[in-house]
Subunit: 198 residues, 2 copies
């Protein structure tokens, strides 16, 4: 029904998760209303990101070079390595400005039911890095879910023979949360991990 | 914090309405996961749509040519012209397959408070087309809102001297609606426009 250029655009926008026919149509019409300098910037940014972004060969974080700027920074604290499952988490932690150690980005989490095993998320690369490095503490900051817990326990297990501390970020009630809306699993965790006040 | 290619992409995605920092980040990371053939298709579709899509010089509908396929079709019913304020409405009506007349797409709706007057939405072009054509009925299918009603009344007023019928699509309760959630204005319209059953 639409001219071909619009149909193509609608189909292309449906690549995005959660974008159905209607939203894709709305986005396509929005593109028509943009200035040409904007549509060029949008289109070129897509091509450039795909072309330029690689994974750091040391920590697997996203980078435009062989090694990311964090791994290249020799002034960081060599005692700590923080394990995450998503490059976005690295950015969130860096924004805090309080952690100065290194990172390791896993290719996902162990999901035994879906057949995702330790080798699929390249845990071997992390283990090798820890064996060869001089880290004193591995801080596990993967997503707090069943798969995250499983991955954390697996790492703790593998490293148990080595002289290194393995810690996990605290789970509990988020600051400012409305108690009424805190889910049962989080509340249970918060009870289990309760701390003495003084 | 992100590599430049990702930052650019995040900025570009924020062109879309309702897309904030977080959603733009999610979309950017999704792009990295696409195949190169897909990112090329997406980027090229954006550029091509912007380059190729024009407005039909007769009815103002979107087209890749000077005149759209509907205006070019001499087999359509020359008695009817349907006035809409959005090319997407043309597509919705065409999908029904029951209307075979012509269309006219306004450049928006009259909004006196925002200073959008009849000349801004090119109503003159519609009036001229009706004056010069042989239409028997103008079917107004603009959005059912205050601005839509104002625009409909204005058109009716301007055409009142001419020998042409001006109609407006019926307002009322949508089929399958839950009565409990029908808004007050719609319910009032539905009462005002109630019809005898036999």
């Amino acid at each position: 029904m639409y001219p071909k250029s619009i149909n193509n655009l609608i189909e292309a926008f449906k690549y995005f998760p959660g974008i159905g026919e209607k939203s894709a149509e709305r986005m396509a019409f929005h593109v028509l209303g943009l200035e040409e300098v904007q549509t060029n910037f949008l289109a070129d940014s897509i091509k450039n990101a795909k072309k330029n972004i690689k994974h750091c060969k040391i920590c697997n974080h996203i980078t435009e070079n062989e090694v990311c700027s964090i791994c290249e920074d020799t002034l960081r604290n060599k005692d700590y390595i923080c394990v995450v499952d998503d490059p976005k988490t690295v950015i969130s932690i860096e924004k805090l400005g309080t952690y100065h150690g290194y990172y390791h980005v896993l290719n996902g989490l162990i999901e035994t039911l879906d057949g995702i095993n330790p080798e699929d998320i390249r845990l071997d690369k992390l283990i090798k890095r820890i064996e060869e490095g001089n880290f004193k503490e591995v801080i596990i900051a993967v997503k707090p879910c069943l798969e995250g817990e499983m991955t954390a326990l697996y790492i703790d297990n593998v490293l148990s023979g080595m002289n290194i501390e393995v810690t996990r970020l605290a789970s509990g009630i988020p600051m400012g949360a409305d108690m009424e809306y805190v889910d049962a699993i989080t509340l249970e965790k918060a009870f289990d991990n309760r701390k003495k006040l003084s």
